[in-house]
Symmetry: C2
Subunit: 241 residues, 2 copies
DNA sequence: TTAATAGTGTCTATAAGACATTATATG
DNA sequence: CATATAATGTCTTATAGACACTATTAA
């Protein structure tokens, strides 16, 4: 990062922001968390829904990921979610307040882990169902584009990694796991093939206990290595006839 | 990106930079372009090698990608390379001059396309062979980490996409294509399987002419859709015996 | 004619897709 | 016993891997 006014560095700097795309599954549907833009004067996109985020505070945030985790905890109470970087968007035109670059993170949570934020007003924040490549309404800034990119990433990675597993609580049955893959992929997933795939990849290990219901109880499992997603040797590849 | 001093926005802002990891193949080896840090007083990491890049100029650069393309053209003369975003790195500590976030791009070029930059001194810029996860020496800033991440991305994507094809000129033989995959993956690639894979994925189409040499001439091919990489239905998966 | 590389064919291994069958719980 | 879902089994198909074989050029 070379040649710029040595010692002074007084040239104008863009704004630096962090936004977080937070996914969860509610009632068997993929949802994303949005917050309402404030309506004060001078505020861009007043009243519009937007991804949770904000400017980097160089006093408080030691790095970008810490900033993202902070915003995530603020909105959901969740401390260690699955979090990966999605990308960054920066241009002169995306924010009327000036040249802004935002670093976007991508989080996945079981809905059971979310605690309503204590100090927040109802109506300022909400879970929106994901339909196709968005939430069916225009968002603030370029957040439509960013959200579409996050959805594409999630669906794409669901074809060859274990990502959707992070939408479930710590223990789950194989049927629940299969179901959350089907929800993310938007198509049915074959049971037998799915089980072989998951078990032979060493994605899960048995946990104590079973899930009881109206029928035969199901074995509980947990992720063997929750720190990082597992890569399957092949993508899902349904026959096209 | 909400709630901050309305109207004023006079809080301190991080520096915003763009760096570019530029890969090419020289003499059958993967190489990356590095530039030497200036040695003036107040300059961080004087004399060290670093990724080409620099601060975003909000007057000149309309967005991050334009900034990356500008830096790429400046160093190599190349105008439309394969370019994708790698990620961003930002923290209080990665640059002694202050809180800095850099947006890193990832480019791939045929070495034949590179024109020596007109105004640059020799010794200020060089192609370094990639060995394992770096270039065998400590780089400026956190550029070791960034470079390792870029190498991992390239090798990883070579397992299931056509990315390495962007290291070749417009037309190439299937043997040349197979060879550049072997160079990137760091292991031999079977000829027959590779050809079926490439041809049935519709990655390439025949171009006019053949490559002549000491033996049977080889058909030339070109990428069918150079705008975006092709995804193969499976990863490479050599038997482990 | 030989060397060298281009290009094809054959066989096997792996894992997914489709779908049928068996197992085990509740009511 | 009926029902529901868990769990497993069977058969087919797609594609990679290994490697042998044929084709076509130059020297």
């Amino acid at each position: 990062m070379p040649k710029n006014p040595p010692s002074s560095q007084s040239f104008p700097r863009p704004f630096t922001a962090v936004d977080v795309v937070i996914f969860t599954v509610i009632d068997d549907q993929l949802h994303v968390l949005l917050v309402k833009r404030p309506s004060g004067s001078g505020e861009p996109y007043p009243g519009r829904w937007a991804l949770p985020g904000g400017y980097v505070d160089i006093e408080r945030d030691k790095d970008l990921q810490a900033c993202a985790l902070h915003k995530l905890k603020e909105k959901t109470g969740v401390v260690s979610p699955y979090l990966e970087q999605l990308g960054s968007w920066g241009s002169a035109s995306r924010d009327p307040r000036g040249w802004t670059a935002t670093h976007v993170y991508f989080a996945m949570l079981p809905h059971t882990a979310v605690k309503p934020a204590p100090g927040s007003q109802p109506g300022e924040m909400g879970w929106f169902q994901v339909v196709d490549d968005g939430v069916g309404q225009k968002l603030a800034f370029d957040h439509d584009t960013i959200l579409a990119s996050a959805i594409a990433r999630l669906r794409g990675k669901a074809e060859y990694t274990s990502l959707p597993a992070y939408l479930l609580p710590d223990t789950f049955t194989l049927s629940e796991l299969q179901h959350v893959f089907a929800v993310v992929l938007g198509r049915p997933v074959d049971k037998s093939g799915f089980r072989t795939r998951v078990l032979s990849a060493g994605l899960v290990e048995e946990a104590d206990g079973v899930r009881t219901g109206q029928s035969r109880p199901a074995q509980l499992y947990r992720l063997k290595m929750p720190q990082q997603p597992t890569f399957f040797p092949r993508t899902f590849n349904p026959r096209k006839d």
